[in-house]
Symmetry: C2
Subunit: 212 residues, 2 copies
């Protein structure tokens, strides 16, 4: 479903807006961007979401909004990404309809199976490695659960958490369909080049029809 999935973090983005970072990530070859703005006001998040949705539509890429189903719908995003403490996936599905793509963060096989049963379209699995970009993330789970979850469900598995150029191929080899990164793209001086390199690293270990 995805190759490289990029999650925004304004605080790491060297003064760029999330929409500016998203454009650079897409230009570098990311096929999905998730707008994550913890504690942002609705108006500010909606403004960024609408900018990114327009870019994603223009470039034919995926765009997801973290947590806020209302912002996802109002911005025209492809879907929403939900954590274990966000609105349940089945509630989001009712609000968004069958065409929306809903991702769910999971840490265990049990959570993965439940998310799939409740209608998730893909899973975010992690944090794989220790990361400082998601302060509320649980302890790193390592690569073992990626493989176990990949065996247990049919929907795509996107590994996330502490992934960078040095370990991204390990993540794909462990069974992840895709890798999601935060600082490895958004905190770089050249997010476009960083995304391009990371996507190439993924495709080298998992040959895949490019999206563009």
């Amino acid at each position: 479903m995805f190759d490289l999935y990029v999650v925004t973090d304004k605080g790491l983005s060297k003064g760029r807006t999330d929409a500016e970072t998203a454009r650079l990530a897409y230009e570098g070859g990311a096929d999905a961007v998730q707008l994550r703005m913890k504690n942002a006001d609705g108006a500010e998040m909606l403004a960024q979401a609408r900018e990114i949705a327009a870019i994603a539509a223009e470039m034919d890429r995926f765009f997801f909004v973290d947590d806020r189903v209302d912002v996802a719908i109002a911005s025209g995003a492809d879907g929403v990404h939900l954590g274990q403490s966000d609105i349940p996936v089945e509630v989001a599905r009712e609000l968004m309809g069958t065409d929306a793509i809903i991702g769910v963060s999971v840490q265990t096989v049990e959570q993965a199976i439940r998310a799939q049963e409740n209608g998730a379209d893909y899973l975010g699995v992690g944090s794989i490695f220790t990361t400082s970009t998601k302060p509320d993330a649980v302890q790193a789970i390592g690569l073992g659960p990626v493989f176990e979850i990949r065996q247990a469900v049919d929907i795509p598995v996107v590994a996330i958490g502490g992934i960078n150029r040095g370990n991204i191929q390990d993540v794909i080899r462990a069974g992840a369909d895709s890798a999601a990164v935060v600082s490895a793209v958004v905190a770089q001086d050249d997010p476009r080049a960083a995304a391009h390199e990371l996507r190439d690293l993924i495709l080298k270990v998992r040959p895949h029809v490019p999206v563009d």
Copy 2:
């Protein structure tokens, strides 16, 4: 539209959940409750919202959710209350439909007129007095704007911010259709009695057909 409008604040509620506080407020005579949970996760907010929506339906009172349109829709609330930095009222209207009741916080006549033009069903005007319960509130505006805004718009004006038993009648005399309180109900040992007293004080200066 409303007599006494109560806004929740879990941190002030002496160990009660927001749903427990809401029930006591309704029992005391509040005809509207707004669930405000700044920085709460979606699942937690939705759970509280569903509890309060059930109580409000049972008692035939109004229930609003602060900020989160998705939680408002999913919980079956009557509507949503939006600040100036939340999702715009016209976007919320598109998501919620014509039957939803949408309130907007305003501080000035200009904001009040714009909110009405954009489809707001009522206005929250404040903070009237200095208050510690809404850390991000702008400076207290006093009673003058209540009167000015009341003259400038047709929709109900709910005054909010630092309102208590000592000043609630001044607020109604200044032209507010209703008064919203936070700590004057939710932080009390007996929120039911506090709501009852505050509603009586309102009705004494503004005779009104009781809701129950």
